[in-house]
Point group: C2
Chain length 466, copies 2
């Protein structure tokens, strides 16, 4: 019944766990049955008592057996209460939240062409056991202690240094860390916005942001985004007509188009913010991928109208969830207070990890590698997608995204929805419109644009549409 | 200028970093100065070029030097932009948020008698490099990938198992993970509560919760908490008078008193929830420390009126920030959606870590150890605090907290405020009153109750007051 194999590659402890689990699952060990004592089983299988303790612990953790004080281990009675996971599977491309959920819950066999993340294997050097060990060893107190709600001091110093190097005049006291940029947007919105306020957003822009803002019962006014920046006439008209409270925009490597704002235009946007008194939330998630001389609004403005939001999630990996806001000290205090009242604080372990990545110099190297790799992939993906019938603007920008246009005859809803059956995750253009207007655009992740399944599927779809 | 020591315990790379940093900080290497090339410095100090690359990377990361493409490394120009951190230091015991900030930002030289966390060195076996390595190795894909917004499947299965073993009938589909219990309260509040709603809270109870709820513009009605549970007459009267939308309560090991509700009383609370149609948010952060036969409301109710909230933060460590809510599938969907719109998702790394702790069986062992240690510390702390003049009820409960009463003549505001000068962090009773009513109570963390500095300080204070 309990014969174990010494030749197996499976450690003894795992063999015991699997053997007992199977006996229980097949009903050979009935509910309530007492298991052999630790000493007895150890003798029976020729293992040490420690091995058996370890195996029993794991079986308890899996809910298969339970310990009763002083009386030993018994097969659990209640395991029927745990049923298989049956989850409603929402149409993954249908709306902003369902697309976000699909992207975040994807498995490795999915062609995540609609995702905003780099493929998991691009994080190789960063997502390493060696680095994690170093965090645990060299930063022991910070990594395992409670994290100050403003963020780990050392990490805030590093972030301030990074921004100063980019020409943004800040000190660590201007920084507050957040659970990704998403939490920064949420906290800032909860502080700045009241129901009924008007908020300007770019059209197209990041789809989850629209839903985030709508949940604060504000009115969204779209400002068309061109290759050189937001449409300034539309922006000024919106300011006059609506007296907006805030403008959320992406200066560099805009999502979904990859475009960056011309510095001259940045200045004009800041003048309007001054004149009409609105806050600019500058979302700089992809700016580190910008080649050459990047000019951010926060740099010109000096954090007078601009609240700068950054994140390490896109570059260091989606499991990290460390972002930050940089703003004046009065707003920093309010953000910290709102953070305490919503998630209490951040994770010292995650912040220490990011701090270690920055301190080691790996971040800079990693960003350079990603940039080079994306440059190659953009060219290849562009060619591959064009071959299927997708069209692109002459200005295709930089970064992770390619913003393509499908022929008029193509039905995007159907292409996205049927993509699921081919394990292809797509992001349709209408999601990137604040008003959800119909669009023939689609956002492609350059890292996946050459995937044969995708190319084949789109070719078929667009041939059928033509 | 660059002589390094082979005998130093400091690795060569650290020596180079420190040497260069000092030269820059002392002005011996002026702004804009070009540093020796990697090859040259390597030769100069007799190190490998890799060591120098590593050192330069770290200096770049610290903002002291910068690389210019193809031209080498230069002393940064802008480092004057980074100033020392000068932060307003709010009176740490004055209000809920400032106490929370003080607790979370404390340093190891503070006697954290007012903290709700166990001392960092109590997490020893859990907060280990070995365990962290195992997470990175054995759970590689989950640990480094995006985390599904509902939570890692394996972790939700383990949580469901844990609850089923406690008699709460749930499946993994009923679970959604959150950034600590705080985020669960925040998300649930954002879904269930509208401005003007009445919410019942226990008096006394966890102070941050009051501020969290107030930020949703609801009205708090306090229900007195007795040793045997909430005052049922007051509860029924409040139900009749206010038709509350929700009742936040702690069944087991109530914070700050350590008391647990009698099972018969639980049944009566559920009947009132049925009759008056309010939701019960059962906060079970400390329940695992309960000795003997614990009965939770969720167990009796079967998640019809009860939304169960748990967390691993208190037991596994404050750096973890992994909590969860268990509720019916309709509310689970709403919580997931709100989670996507506030923090997007959780951290796969943290959730994989908790999953590994549970799978290894260490959690159960660790909780047993903590429980035994707290039992001893409660007895010792009680005696030590009584010796200073603090009084306690005959029913002192279990868990981390001791809820003591100071003599009428003692001025708690002053004792808390002056405690800071003695590096003692205290939590005054009025914070635990939803209405902020004056109180002679103080909440003590049993793990710190015997600290000589605390005993000495309180003795002096209470002698002076008498």
């Amino acid at each position: 019944m309990f014969e174990l194999s010494r030749d197996s590659t499976l450690p003894l402890v795992d063999q015991i766990v699997e053997r007992v689990a199977r006996l229980i699952q097949h009903g050979q060990l009935a509910e309530g049955t007492r298991l052999p004592s630790i000493r007895k089983l150890a003798k029976l299988v020729g293992a040490s008592p420690f091995t058996v303790v370890d195996a029993y612990d794991r079986l308890v953790a899996r809910g298969l057996i339970e310990s009763r004080a002083g009386r030993g281990f018994f097969v659990s009675r209640r395991r029927s209460g745990v049923v298989a996971i049956i989850e409603a599977s929402p149409d993954p491309g249908a709306n902003a939240v369902s697309l976000a959920r699909a992207v975040l819950s994807r498995t490795s066999d999915i062609v995540a062409a609609g995702s905003g993340f780099l493929p998991d294997n691009w994080y190789g050097e960063i997502a390493s056991n060696a680095l994690l060990s170093r965090v645990s060893m060299s930063r022991r107190p910070q990594a395992w202690s409670a994290c100050p709600p403003q963020g780990l001091t050392e990490l805030r110093e590093q972030i301030a240094n990074k921004l100063v190097q980019q020409g943004i005049a800040v000190s660590p006291s201007n920084i507050v860390t957040t659970a990704g940029a998403s939490q920064a947007f949420d906290l800032i919105s909860r502080i700045l916005l009241s129901p009924g306020d008007t908020v300007l957003v770019e059209d197209p822009s990041y789809f989850v942001l629209f839903e985030q803002l709508r949940s604060h019962h504000v009115r969204l006014v779209p400002i068309p985004r061109r290759a050189e920046g937001p449409d300034l006439e539309a922006l000024e008209a919106a300011c006059r007509a609506h007296r907006p409270r805030a403008f959320f925009l992406q200066t560099l490597i805009h999502n979904p188009t990859g475009w960056s704002i011309e510095p001259a235009r940045s200045h004009r946007i800041l003048s309007l913010a001054e004149q009409y008194g609105f806050a600019i939330i500058e979302d700089d998630l992809y700016g580190d991928l910008h080649e050459g001389n990047a000019v951010r609004l926060a740099q010109i403005d000096g954090l007078r109208h601009v609240i700068y939001v950054g994140s390490f999630t896109k570059m260091i990996g989606p499991a990290l969830r460390v972002g930050f806001a940089a703003t004046d000290s009065a707003l920093v205090s309010q953000i910290i207070e709102r953070k305490v009242l919503s998630t209490l604080t951040g994770s010292g372990l995650l912040e220490a990890f990011v701090s270690e990545v920055l301190a080691s110099g790996r971040y800079r190297r990693h960003v350079q590698q990603v940039r080079a790799r994306l440059t190659r992939m953009r060219t290849d993906s562009l060619k591959a997608l064009q071959s299927t019938g997708v069209r692109f603007d002459s200005t295709t920008g930089e970064g992770i995204f390619l913003w393509g246009r499908l022929p008029e005859a193509a039905n995007l809803d159907s292409i996205v929805s049927r993509g699921r059956d081919h394990s292809i995750l797509l992001a349709k253009g209408s999601l990137f419109s604040p008003a959800g207007e119909p669009s023939q655009h689609m956002r492609f992740n350059a890292a996946y644009g050459t995937a044969p399944e995708l190319v084949h599927y789109l070719t078929q779809c667009l041939k059928a549409a033509a």
